[in-house]
């Protein structure tokens, strides 16, 4: 048996990657590796600050595993650091126990390339990857998942995790037909706002203006980035250049909102509004997502409230968001959002964790959201 070696993914390895994916599928793996070396999201192009590198673990000519590093600059306590998102580590060990050692090898190879890396998403703490990372003393943080329902009837008719028995399905369908679901869920959100804020207004001052942008992010976004970055312990660069790379104006899936009051930019939010079809959790609902955003902590609530109103007014059945920082999570709850079970886990390698110590205390300032993950997939 040849020794395992690490190599960048090049065209020459495409057939071997395809064969690897076939073996993974045949073994029942739900994941496969991209079958070409040109990243669909953030490909490596000259002059680009953020891009993806793909690596393979080869045994002779056979691919036995691989992983992706997405490079990005982050502000850590106000200082810039080059950090990589450790994505899609895949090993043949998932389907063939004689390669069980590869999981650990892949992590160690990635750490050799860049000691400051993080993993994000991963499904649940019970899965193999987060278990491995936790055992390797990575810092683990569950990024909260919050949701707000606009159309109670559509929600109860579609939400799979709650429609677990026939009796529940019937009950929910009747509630939807009678309009009780709309009233009940509106009452739940109202109760949440009341618990969080009492009768105090969410916002002082006139209602802000919400611009649905059709042009690229500009100097105003750079200015906001400069003012906001030091308010978070960890925040991926969100200057105009980076925003135009992540959320280009020509990509019409993105709803790019700028929230202003009296000519002052309070913040921005990037959202999606997706009609689901037989989704494993959301059924056939129209689900809007607050993917990303930036504001000074004092303005986050206004930005979240404005974005949520905008998305519900477009006709979304519900609005969801994963927001890591206390400022954004609190703002969501203040706006009536409820927390659901999170499958979005942030794991910081030991070197990155060191930068973020005391990790648990500084996690309140981790401005981590879907914008730091795999890109606009599954949303």
């Amino acid at each position: 048996m040849a020794k395992i070696r690490l190599e960048p993914f090049t065209e020459a390895a495409i057939p071997a990657v395809q064969a690897f994916n076939e073996r993974m599928r045949a073994g029942g793996s739900e994941f496969v590796f991209p079958d070409h070396p040109y990243a669909d999201f953030l490909p490596k192009l000259p002059g680009r600050k953020s891009y993806q590198d793909m690596y393979l673990l080869l045994e002779g000519d056979d691919v036995r595993g691989g992983f992706i590093l997405r490079w990005q600059d982050f502000a850590v306590n106000g200082e810039m650091h080059r950090i990589a998102h450790y994505k899609l580590p895949l090993s043949e060990g998932i389907v063939n126990p004689s390669y069980a050692r590869l999981g650990l090898q892949i992590v160690r190879y990635a750490l050799r390339i860049e000691p400051k890396i993080f993993a994000l998403g991963m499904g649940s703490r019970e899965r193999a990857l987060p278990k491995m990372l936790e055992a390797m003393k990575w810092g683990m943080y569950d990024v909260p998942f919050s949701f707000s329902v606009g159309h109670g009837g559509a929600f109860v008719r579609n939400i799979k995790p709650l429609r677990t028995t026939e009796a529940r399905e019937q009950l929910f369908d009747v509630a939807a037909a009678l309009g009780v679901a709309d009233i009940g869920i509106a009452a739940v959100h109202f109760g949440q706002r009341l618990r969080r804020r009492g009768l105090a207004a969410l916002d002082r001052g006139p209602r802000p203006a919400v611009d649905d942008l059709t042009t690229p992010f500009d100097d105003w976004a750079d200015d906001l980035w400069q003012r906001a970055m030091s308010h978070y312990t960890l925040c991926g660069v969100r200057d105009a250049e980076m925003l135009n790379l992540l959320y280009p104006a020509e990509d019409l899936r993105f709803i790019r909102l700028r929230i202003q009051r009296r000519g002052q930019v309070l913040g921005w939010a990037v959202c999606l509004d997706t009609q689901m079809h037989r989704h494993k959790q959301f059924g056939d609902m129209r689900v809007a997502t607050i993917v990303d955003g930036l504001a000074l902590p004092d303005h986050v609530r206004t930005v979240v409230d404005s974005a949520t109103r905008h998305l519900l007014a477009r006709g979304a059945d519900m609005v969801v968001s994963n927001q890591g920082s206390a400022a954004w999570h609190s703002a969501l709850l203040d706006c009536g959002f409820l927390d659901g079970p999170s499958n979005y886990i942030f794991a910081a390698s030991p070197k990155l964790r060191q930068l973020l110590e005391p990790f648990d205390a500084s996690s309140a300032g981790f401005h981590i959201n879907r914008g730091d993950g795999d890109g606009p997939i599954n949303l």
Partner: protein, 79 residues
């Protein structure tokens, strides 16, 4: 049995829930269903902690049996 082999075998026996005398130097992922990627990581990190060493990814590749792990421990300790 070398001191390293007996210590590594004991760690593996505890981890995989088998009696130490069953863990010979040829004991491998084929010997037990419990030797998956997470168990492999737990085995290697336990060995690293026990001997205060750190394995490189190329060394992890050689860790196909308990005997191979013990041999690597001996090599690392010998410097």
């Amino acid at each position: 049995m070398s001191q390293s082999l007996s210590a590594v075998a004991q760690i593996a026996a505890d981890l995989f829930g088998v009696s130490a005398d069953k863990v010979t130097d040829s004991f491998s992922a084929e010997s037990t269903d419990k030797w998956d990627s997470v168990a492999h990581l737990n085995l290697v990190t336990a060995v690293e902690e026990r001997f205060d060493i750190m394995f490189e990814p190329e060394e992890v590749d050689e860790m196909k049996t308990i005997g191979a792990i013990a041999k690597l421990v001996d090599e690392k300790r010998a410097g």
